[in-house]
Symmetry: C2
Subunit: 242 residues, 2 copies
């Protein structure tokens, strides 16, 4: 059974890579090695096709894949340009699929809400540690804006999101900021209500105010505890508290 009369079979399947994938690798390496600087244009499809000695479809698929990954921008008529990559790029690229996963399985929405709460709990802890006077001032400004918008549901929620995003920015970590923004946008898409706004704007506002005070005092434990109550108000996730 294990006789391999032909050497073809014993090479397993190593060279099975598609042509366009090899082109993709070459281009990705060129971008990664800064041979193609972010912001400037790439060679045209026809130029690349000649350079790599492959047909246009191979080049095209590779470029298209790069575009899907958010690494380059493709516009009809112009030459393609290299994008700058950041944490936000990764999240942006995942955006559409993430929305699909959420809308396909409602259970995942609950899981995301849960994950968001957990994430926010860790975030507020760091934010309380690192809070500067400027941070606190900004939070107070957003809070004042939210007070003004009490009548307008949409504006109120937007200010609420701004509050939480500002908290994320206090971590001085772009990855955390990007994740927080992405999570909030996904939740906003499906459930306006779950952004802990359940008709009791006054409670939300007073909790925010208290939280700002705790953050100003760098009381991480207090802020975490308050945030836990704050978020648990709109969804009973932490019910198993010992």
């Amino acid at each position: 059974m294990s006789l391999t009369a032909k050497s073809k079979t014993d090479q397993d399947k190593i060279v099975r890579r598609k042509l366009s994938d090899q082109v993709l690798d070459r281009l990705r390496d060129m971008i990664l090695s800064r041979e193609l600087a972010p912001g400037d244009v790439m060679p045209s499809e026809r130029a690349l096709m000649e350079r790599f000695g492959v047909g246009r479809p191979a080049v095209r698929e590779a470029l298209q894949s790069l575009h899907n990954s958010g690494l380059i921008s493709i516009n009809h008529g112009e030459r393609s340009r290299v994008n700058e990559v950041s944490a936000a790029t990764v999240l942006n690229q995942s955006d559409s699929i993430a929305r699909m996963v959420l809308s396909a399985a409602p259970a995942n929405l609950e899981h995301l809400k849960h994950a968001r709460q957990m994430f926010e709990l860790g975030m507020i802890r760091v934010a309380a540690h690192k809070a500067t006077t400027g941070d606190v001032a900004d939070l107070r400004a957003i809070h004042a804006e939210q007070v003004r918008e009490m009548g307008n549901a949409t504006a109120f929620i937007e200010a609420d999101m701004k509050f939480h995003i500002r908290l994320a920015q206090m971590t001085q970590n772009p990855i955390i900021v990007s994740v927080a923004e992405a999570m909030l946008s996904w939740l906003f898409e499906y459930h306006l209500s779950l952004l802990h706004w359940s008709g009791k704007e006054d409670v939300t506002l007073s909790e925010h105010a208290t939280m700002i005070d705790l953050i100003e005092q760098h009381d991480a434990d207090g802020a975490v505890a308050l945030m836990e109550r704050h978020l648990a108000r709109s969804a009973g996730v932490f019910e198993a508290k010992a």
Copy 2:
């Protein structure tokens, strides 16, 4: 100026969508509406091309994009199959770009480490809440395995990762598990050492043991505090403690 002799001009530039994108939308809707069940095959490129009345390149680009997104599998010779989507799909799709972002900007690696620590802090809190006797037993088993592998660095780190992943599983949230796995794999890729294994295996092990005890008692605050020290040992991120 606002005369619109032709209805084409008054639509500004809305219909600029590429043909392949429209095909992509149609296919995505078909998958999302379960018209194409996960696990079964899709129509062939030629069939789709006839069905939508477009050329083969359009169909092909759409399918390729679906493949890049991880929604379908494409194998040479066979018909394409629809994949099942989950939280892991999103992370898997982001994997290669995430690695690029990390390797491109070393600062992002620090940010990821920071984010991981924050994430883990929130995670351990939930895990301590929800811990069951089975969870604790599994943690003890992994811990015992890690003790046995003290001599072997690779096996030791792998057991360490298993420990943290098992903690993530205790949240009973697939999104959290997927994110934890992805983060650990990214960190493992670039810095074996930062998985809080800095030559002091004995300290790591004793901290793990203490953590298991705290989890068993559902002492969330204690577990969070310990994990904070545990993770801070390998990187000075929470230095700004008040």
